[in-house]
């Protein structure tokens, strides 16, 4: 064993390594001169978001759109409005802004995008990029931690034709966006998502690890309870929420190096009644929202 270790040390001696992260970003086209930086970043973001759109939006929606005959080359999705600020806040001294913007393709296919930025002065001038069914993906230069976009099924849309799409006010676990590890700049790990407009609060719960039988964590330190804020995005009656991840969950991610999404997400109205639900182990299908009964105590 020692012979191999010594040999590998000889093969690649411990050399003085000097970090040069700015050079990595330059290579990636993520920064440079102010004008060039913006152009390249948008170009890169177009590529990144397009890739995201293909994987996250086009694939699951293709079957649904084909089934419902939604797709028409003449009706590519387009942004409905520029990103808006849903709410602002501060976590451990880190100011954050939750943004969202809507898009739509045709009368039956809609998209909603949202994200968190820690930038003090986020540039929210979204630039339309190539769209996909339901979600017109746009570059948002001010948002560094990613933007999630998805077509909304199970969220009531006031322009929808009754009977053509589900109208149950529930939502799916895929309507989440998270930065599950602490950012390099010390930004806290966080999670954000969208919920039906009737839900004023959201409760996120994770499953206990290695618990048999499976059970949900119940300690106040391990459960996220957060208010949901109305989002004035055209065409949607939704609320969005954002919260820092509980330390035990963030620590789990750091130690296991794997992000674990919540196993149960419950939206409640002002009277505490369950009005939205997503629970793993149940069908997560874009045309079949989780039944509300799954989240009832």
């Amino acid at each position: 064993m020692n012979g191999i270790t010594e040999s590998l040390d000889r093969l690649a001696p411990t050399a003085a390594w000097e970090d040069d992260w700015p050079e990595v970003l330059r290579r990636a086209g993520a920064c440079g001169s102010p004008r060039g930086r913006r152009t390249r970043r948008l170009g890169r973001r177009r590529t990144v978001l397009l890739a995201f759109a293909v994987v996250a939006v086009v694939a699951p929606l293709t079957a649904l759109s084909a089934r419902n005959n939604w797709w028409s080359p003449a009706s590519l999705p387009r942004p409905v409005q520029q990103p808006i600020v849903v709410t602002r806040g501060s976590w451990s001294g880190h100011r954050w802004t939750l943004i969202a913007y809507p898009s739509h393709a045709n009368a039956n296919a809609y998209g909603l995008c949202w994200g968190i930025t820690f930038s003090r002065n986020p540039d929210l001038a979204a630039v339309p990029v190539q769209g996909s069914i339901g979600a017109a993906v746009m570059a948002v230069p001010g948002v560094e931690d990613g933007v999630n976009c998805d077509s909304i099924v199970g969220i009531e849309h006031w322009h929808r034709t009754p009977g053509t799409v589900p109208t149950v006010q529930a939502y799916e676990s895929q309507f989440l966006l998270a930065s599950p590890v602490q950012g390099a700049k010390g930004h806290p790990a966080w999670i954000a998502g969208v919920v039906a407009s009737s839900a004023t609060h959201v409760v996120l719960r994770w499953r206990a690890r290695r618990a048999h039988p499976p059970r949900l964590l119940a300690s106040p330190r391990e459960v996220v309870r957060v208010a949901a804020f109305p989002a004035r995005v055209a065409g949607y009656r939704v609320r969005l929420f954002a919260a820092p991840l509980p330390e035990p969950i963030a620590r789990r991610t750091r130690t296991a190096s794997a992000w674990t999404p919540p196993s149960m997400i419950t939206g409640t109205n002002r009277r505490g009644r369950v009005v939205a639900c997503s629970a793993d182990g149940l069908t997560i299908d874009i045309s079949t929202p989780t039944p509300l009964s799954a989240c009832k105590p």
Binding site: R10, W21, E23, L25, F52, E144, S257
Partner: protein, 162 residues
């Protein structure tokens, strides 16, 4: 879907923590410090460019490792092609140390999976789960892969140092 993609901040965090280890991995692949540094920078740049494709199905370190390994393999290939035509400075330096050249040959003769597993284990101290995620293999096969690599390399080293 949950969350999709890695943030630039997450990739930078891996860079700050592991770049020196990745440098050694790339050095072992390429045989030259400058080429290895270039491969690490390019690998991380590729990770930044492709961060939306990270599916969070394993640790981000493993996903980034895949990017750096690919960059190092490309760099090594280019370096060999160039060296075949021009004897650059680094190649001349390497040729002085015959043992290292023999060692490099022994390593290169290992199956790719065994070599990568060995590098990830020794230079980056990856655990078996991370190695499995980086190489796209089952965790249960990592131990056997490393064992086979060590056995094979030990045999080659006996030849080198005999």
């Amino acid at each position: 879907m949950g969350s999709v993609g890695a943030s630039v901040g997450e990739i930078e965090e891996v860079y700050r923590r592991r770049a020196s280890g990745f440098f050694r991995l790339a050095y072992a692949h390429t045989g030259g410090a400058d080429t290895a540094r270039d491969a690490v920078q390019e690998g991380f740049a590729n990770a930044v460019r492709g961060r939306a494709s990270f599916r969070r199905e394993g640790p981000i370190d493993a996903w980034v490792a895949r990017c750096v390994i690919n960059a190092a393999v490309d760099a090594a290939r280019n370096r060999e092609e160039v060296s075949a035509i021009l004897e650059d400075e680094e190649s001349a330096e390497l040729s002085v140390d015959g043992d290292v050249m023999a060692l490099r040959t022994a390593i290169r003769d290992l199956p790719t999976r065994q070599r990568d597993a060995l590098f990830l284990r020794y230079y980056l101290d990856f655990d078996y789960a991370a190695i499995a995620a980086a190489l796209g293999i089952e965790v249960g096969t990592v131990s056997a892969t490393l064992h086979a690599a060590r056995t094979s390399l030990r045999g080659s080293l006996q030849e080198v140092y005999r």
